[in-house]
Symmetry: C2
Subunit: 362 residues, 2 copies
């Protein structure tokens, strides 16, 4: 093992040693139980570790300023690892909900578990087994995330406010995910003019606060941040998180499947009710809007139909409006860092992370 790993490498090592403990703990429960634990572990591979990075940088923003020391301790490494495990759990359940076959270019967890059923020569419907097992796999990962957090908080300073931040994050994202699927169903009963604001509310809960603001504040809290530091990080993290989600929405419609690891136009087939869709619909005449609504959310859309919807979204000016909004939010986030009482080096890292989050192609 690297004697002095970078903080993000330390997070990966923490995950590996945690998984090794879980494997050891499960040996007595037999081969099927071990397969299940290994399936959970494999979901933790890969990904951008975005939430861990924001957590570590949140810590650095505060700790770097006070001590000049850049070496985070067990608490923040474990908290960052916990965020990644929680996110893996959320993705497992999310892929079930969205009926997504792939994740990070590999089979989604429920598809992998379905394949395990098939390969084992078991009885019953492999698809049903895969979906049931994936519900439980997500549950196991949620338990793991909490265990990791608590292992880190043992003897940590500021454990209580850190725990409260994690707990609030968890409640909010779950409600945000519910609102997301409720929007896909309820848009027919909500006034068209409200759709964009409703989509932004979902983006705030399930992305801006979940993916960026809370991870930043969790790290900062563990470093003993004061109110001004927490406020500055929130003022940076929230608009950046909205910009991040809006970029995600654009990639979900226009992204290159070779880069995103998801089929092109996936969000159109799923019928996601994004700001992009809301802007498009308000710009369409009633007849065109009805046609748009009929196509959106049809899982059988072919390439030509996807291209037609993409063109519609572009032609109405909705894409330009969303790009302008991304730019506005990214600017707001950047301004929040100016003169903020945060470590200068960490602020540089935050600016890099912000650029990656809003200008990315995957």
């Amino acid at each position: 093992m690297d004697p002095s790993p970078s903080p993000i490498e330390a997070v990966s090592q923490r995950l590996e040693s945690f998984v090794a403990d879980r494997v050891a703990e499960t040996r007595d429960a037999g081969a099927d139980a071990l397969d299940f634990v290994h399936a959970a572990a494999s979901v933790l591979d890969g990904g951008k570790r975005l939430r861990a990075r924001f957590c570590l940088t949140g810590w650095q923003s505060v700790a770097g300023r006070r001590t000049g020391d850049g070496d985070p301790g067990t608490a923040v490494i474990s908290a960052a690892a916990a965020l990644e495990v929680f996110h893996a759990a959320a993705l497992v359940h999310d892929d079930l909900i969205d009926n997504s076959d792939t994740r990070r270019g590999r089979p989604a967890a429920h598809r992998a578990l379905e394949a395990h059923h098939g390969a084992s020569g078991w009885s019953g419907r492999a698809e049903t087994f895969g979906r049931s097992a994936a519900i439980l796999l997500g549950d196991l990962l949620v338990a793991w995330s909490d265990d990791l957090l608590e292992e880190g908080l043992r003897d940590a300073a500021h454990a209580a406010p850190a725990r409260a931040t994690f707990a609030l994050m968890r409640r909010e994202v779950t409600i945000g995910q519910y609102l997301d699927i409720a929007e896909e169903a309820s848009f027919v009963t909500a006034p068209d003019a409200e759709h964009a604001d409703r989509a932004l509310r979902v983006a705030s809960l399930k992305s801006a606060r979940y993916s960026i603001q809370h991870p930043l504040l969790l790290g900062a809290t563990l470093a003993g941040a004061d109110d001004a530091q927490l406020a500055a990080l929130a003022a940076f993290g929230h608009p950046l998180g909205l910009a991040f989600q809006l970029r995600d929405d654009v990639l979900g419609v226009f992204g290159d499947s070779a880069v995103t690891g998801k089929p092109s136009g996936d969000d159109l087939r799923e019928g996601k009710r994004t700001v992009l869709v809301a802007y498009t619909r308000t710009a369409l005449a009633p007849g065109a809007r009805r046609l748009f609504d009929e196509m959106l959310g049809d899982p059988g859309l072919d390439a030509a139909q996807v291209a037609f919807l993409q063109e519609t979204i572009r032609d109405t000016g909705a894409l330009d409006r969303v790009e302008a909004l991304i730019s506005d939010y990214a600017g707001e986030a950047d301004r929040a860092l100016r003169g903020a009482p945060l470590d200068t080096h960490a602020v540089g890292t935050l600016r890099d992370l912000a650029r990656d989050a809003t200008a990315r192609a995957s």
Copy 2:
């Protein structure tokens, strides 16, 4: 409110005040978010509060002996409430996995959420929405259970070992639930002679340790139990939990639907691989066993087919064998209490709870 509620009433009051806090916290997120929180709250109604009772009695077994004081504090009341919320979460996901339409005589959560979709005039398939929303509802309840536990552990003595007990319980039950569905699928590849032992292993993880042993130890740990006390409670709780699950298996096949709140023969339609089924199969000739296997797990079994399977299970002597096993385990549990270093009054309560758990009709 009652000025001096019984401990189990205090658990209900704790749940009510916790839910009130969650409702207050969610007001700003709009009507749909509030509906979701209310749906989660409604899942907490009813039930026998078995796990809370074992937790409270575990506490009493230790605390009653030391202080003579029967009034549990915030930590154990919150921990007992957390067990109930966690169990509600598990049931929501379990009903999805088992495709159960009813729970405690009311629509299962996914069916209630499906009905909410229908009543709201939303677009898309109500059934798909119900299932997706129920995954998230379970996730929200898991988060709540942890929040309740942590609220109670704030400033509590013995917080670290109590947290570890809760965490182990959570990991074990999830693995046990996975093994449960894996058994339903993998029985075709496992030797017949191993089925009963495999079913008992599942019963140990997902029932004996989860429903009884860990709740007892959680309460006892919060009262500062010593090793001898923990060992006595485990020696009582584990066999009792096995007896409890075996009674559940019998009720799942022979139970009166008017009393259980579930359709009669439900476990036969679900194809649960219980000890009862394992004993039946080993007693059947190959031809009869093939017919039995073909019928078991068929969701379309009619009343006559259910009656035929019930008769087979009875005629093979499997029912008698399981009843004898229940009796053995109940006896083993009872013997563990003799001379145990536990509060006498609490031991009386444990004996009452044991009788309820093994001799019940629902």
